[in-house]
Amino acid sequence: MSGHHDLGGVRTDAPVPRAQHAILPWEMRVDALMQLLSDPQRPGGALMSVDELRRGIESLSADEYRSLGYYERWLQSLIAIMTEKGVVERAELERRFAEVERAHEREHAGGGER
């Protein structure tokens, strides 16, 4: 782990960017999934901790860390932790992702919204 998240004092050359993006529903759902999975009150106990989320984010390559958006990093981390634990299998997620992509393409075929 190269510690590219350990940012205190690292950059002093650029102003703090003030642009604010409107948070998207999928981003809110990623946050919600994290809260639900890490809730110690959930049936069977927490499936993960915020520390694991952080570790998953810190395990991204420096390039991914820089180029992915905030909740994209969260999502990658959630997937890494859940597949690491065998809660979800990578192969089944890949299959489901492919199905969801195809369904999305069908829904938006014929020059509709994009």
Partner: protein
Amino acid sequence: MSLKHVHDDRSAELLERAFRELLIEKGLVSDAAVDERVEFMYARTPALGARVVARAWFDSGFKARLLADGSAAVRELGIDVGALKLVVVENAPQLHNLIVCTLCSCYPRMLLGLPPDWYKSVEYRSRAVREPRAVLAEFGVSLPAGVTVRVHDSTADMRYLVLPMRPHGTAALSEDECAALVTRDAMIGTAVVVAPKV
């Protein structure tokens, strides 16, 4: 489905959907629970923190309890903060506090809602600890001579809230009117509270 290989606007949204569908099918979460959490997050806004600040301005006993045990005091107001361990740091004429999480983006979400993008930026996380006065100047906060700047890096389980100073010119305002003046940035430390111009 590493996002870096398929990265466009839709990929993350589709991946979230695929992931969530599997979790639901496995009985680990439900759509209803996700929706409920999302609604809960939307309901968390800086107005909650502003109520706490205004109460502290109007009730010195509450303020003392707030500074001693932030979470317990906030619960007195009926605000649910869950497992949050809140530390409230008080601005004073000679002291200005600034909050940052250099390692990630720890933030008192139960009182302020979701953090702004700038709080999570590389630039803020890097510079707030190293050159806080320059960062404050960018945010339009110029401090008088003799004011100490104290930066808090949230590295562990505590979450920080700045108790800003009550501005002059607010003596005639009610507690609710005072709360309406308190901005999110004032509770992070990148702003001060200003009285309304009359």
